[in-house]
């Protein structure tokens, strides 16, 4: 029986503490052949099984170009994520996926990519950022604008220098509140975006972050001349099955797990405000 609910068994191979309540985990399937055959596209998500506790949805933090392992960045907020934070290297988990749609990079060849992320929103964008950087030749300029509440809340700090070494790639960092030794910008992400004043010509804007940030970033982008089709985001919704059956993520006629989680702003415009 092809059991769509049955997970692959994997083990925790590495744990890294990113900030106060966010940890990154690297998993590998116990079956190496299955690991090699397993692939996904940036933007998709997986469902992590913590045996004895339950399942939860997380995005792939690493791109498919680096698929020797599967990485997730997880913030401790609820029952399952709390159990995940208790895991140690060598513990077993279950992984099922990939589910959902993906960032349509094939459509963006030759364009500039502008990533705008806030706080832990960078975790959802890490996979598309690294995928684009691993395939830099397909794209023009890549700009990553990333901000958090304070310098301590920035994720993946150790990766920034790696990213900036790639040709035609620029990282703009900001914090709502500076601190000692902070050499980068100080201010909210939407304000910095306005300051940077990127051109919408041949550019795709990919955004992710807390709802309030998205609201103002959207406004800025539209003011700058970006069309709704040029703005892409990934939506978060309570999901359970991940495969378009249980009805939890149903918003209007869309199922976020099946028709998303990646959407252009044009597709989202007609949804009720709370989304």
């Amino acid at each position: 029986m092809t059991n769509i609910y049955k997970p692959h068994i994997a083990k925790v191979v590495e744990i890294k503490v990113e900030t106060g309540d966010i940890k990154s985990f690297k998993f590998q399937f116990v079956d190496p052949a299955a690991q090699k055959a397993f692939t996904w596209k940036a933007g998709q998500f997986l469902i992590l099984n913590i045996f004895g506790v339950g399942e939860a949805v997380f995005t792939f933090a690493n791109p498919q170009t680096r698929n020797e392992y599967i990485e997730c960045s997880i913030r401790k907020v609820g029952l399952v994520s709390e159990a995940i934070h208790e895991l140690e290297v060598g513990d077993s988990v279950g992984i099922r996926g990939p589910y959902g749609n993906w960032f349509p990079f094939e459509k963006w060849h030759g364009k500039n990519l502008l990533y705008v992320a806030g706080g832990v929103g960078l975790a959802a964008l890490r996979s598309p950022i690294e995928f684009a950087l691993d395939n830099k030749q397909d794209f023009k300029n890549i700009t990553i604008l990333y901000g958090a509440r304070s310098p301590l809340d920035l994720c993946y700090k150790d990766k920034f220098s790696d990213w900036e070494t790639i040709k035609d790639t620029q990282m703009i960092l900001t914090a709502d509140k500076g601190s000692e030794g902070w050499k980068h910008k100080v201010g909210f992400v939407p304000a910095v975006l306005k300051e940077v004043h990127p051109s919408p010509k041949d550019t795709v804007a990919i955004i992710c972050g807390p709802p309030i940030m998205i609201k103002f970033v959207l406004k800025e982008l539209l003011d700058l001349g970006f069309t709704p089709e040029q703005i892409v985001t990934t939506l978060e919704m309570k999901m359970k099955c991940g495969l378009g059956k249980c009805g939890r993520c149903n918003v209007k006629h869309l199922y976020i797990c099946k028709d998303g989680p990646v959407f252009t702003y044009a597709e989202l415009k007609d949804l009720p405000d709370e989304y």
């Binding site: 092809t2 609910y5 049955k6 029952l79 994520s81 059956k245 249980c246 009805g247 709370e274 989304y275």
Partner: protein, 341 residues
């Protein structure tokens, strides 16, 4: 393929089916509740009530289905899948119940993922339906393209009562034909006027249906009325329980949870859930887009008559009226959607 089966032979048919498989049919208990229960003998079948209190949906789409058992050991984790489901017969449901299976079959086979827990059970289920003679004031099956008191959608064998007490039997599918061929002694040739009698039966039954909704017209009004002030007041009597959801033959939303027995053993279970519940859309950390009861109430009707139609070209409803009867405050689904302007 059409036949005749006498009233007496119905009992014989039940006895014959019971001998080979588990048969679920309406049974009445001491509190006058009529539910689909396992028949121990043909005499236990309660055929007098029109509708059972809950549907037979939970015999194929279990309320709590064990997906697999998990065992943690020193060499890793073992996942134990359940045994194959057994063959069952659902006897004595109504056309609206049978059509409910047809509606949710499509969902469980949708979007590249086939839920084999459901589809395997459905494959092993034979549905024997009895046509409706006296629809109640809450029935509205004729509002649907494939609905009606003698409609055969979703049935394997359809039995329509005749004036002389016997039943006109139609084998709608291969499974239905199998029932007849395995019990051929009980079925005889249908009389020449049987089809005409069935047509008369249908007309007579349909006159008792008090309301027929224009669902296409209603759907057109739904999208523009999403933010209408109508929803602010119409939801007020609703207590946001799940009675309507759990007695519905087409509601399918579910939850997946884990039950831990001890440190090493747990079980992954799929349970029914209801969008009326406050925690349906609650995410980890407490964020919840639908805390407002008005939004949850609106979601139910929008999903059934608008969104589901967009995705599957049919409504998520069969017009059985159980939600109206089960609702503790007697909210009428027909009144709610007719009130949308």
């Amino acid at each position: 393929m059409t036949y005749l089966i006498s009233k007496e032979n119905i009992n014989a048919l039940l006895t014959s089916l019971l001998a080979a498989k588990t048969v679920y049919a309406p049974k009445k208990d001491a509190e006058e509740t009529v539910l689909f229960g396992k028949l121990g003998s043909a005499a236990e079948w309660h055929g007098a009530s029109l509708l059972t209190h809950t549907t037979a949906k939970d015999k194929v789409y279990l309320q709590s289905e064990s997906l697999f058992k998990i065992k943690k050991g020193k060499d890793g984790v073992q996942i134990e899948e359940p045994a194959e489901p057994e063959e069952i017969v659902i006897f004595g449901c109504r056309p609206c119940d049978a059509r409910g299976f047809d509606v949710i079959n499509k969902l469980f086979n949708w979007s590249n993922f086939v839920d084999e827990y459901y589809t395997k059970r459905m494959e092993k289920t034979t549905v024997i339906t009895i046509s409706c003679e006296k629809p109640e004031s809450t029935c509205f099956c004729t509002s649907f393209a494939k609905g009606g008191p003698v409609n055969e959608t979703g049935s394997d064998l359809l039995l329509t009562p005749q004036k002389d007490g016997n039943y006109f039997a139609e084998a709608v599918s291969e499974k239905g034909k199998k029932v007849v061929s395995e019990n051929s002694k009980l079925f005889s040739e249908a009389p020449v006027n049987a089809l005409q009698e069935k047509a008369d039966f249908k007309t007579a039954a349909e006159t008792k249906i008090v309301k027929k909704l224009d669902l296409a017209a209603i759907k057109k009004l739904m999208e523009p009325a999403f933010e209408a002030a109508y929803w602010d007041t119409v939801h007020l009597p609703c207590v946001k329980c799940g009675a309507c959801t759990y007695v519905c033959p087409t509601c399918y939303c579910f939850d997946i949870t884990e039950k831990a027995f001890d440190n090493l053993n747990s079980e992954r279970v799929r349970n029914w859930d209801t969008c009326m519940s406050e925690i349906f859309t609650r995410m980890a950390g407490g964020v919840n887009p639908r805390t407002d009861t008005k939004k949850r109430f609106r979601q139910r009707f929008m999903h059934k008559f608008n969104y589901h139609v967009d995705n599957f070209k049919e409504e998520l409803c069969t017009g059985c009226g159980r939600c109206i009867k089960a609702c503790p405050v007697s909210i009428d689904i027909r009144k709610v959607i007719e009130g949308i302007k």
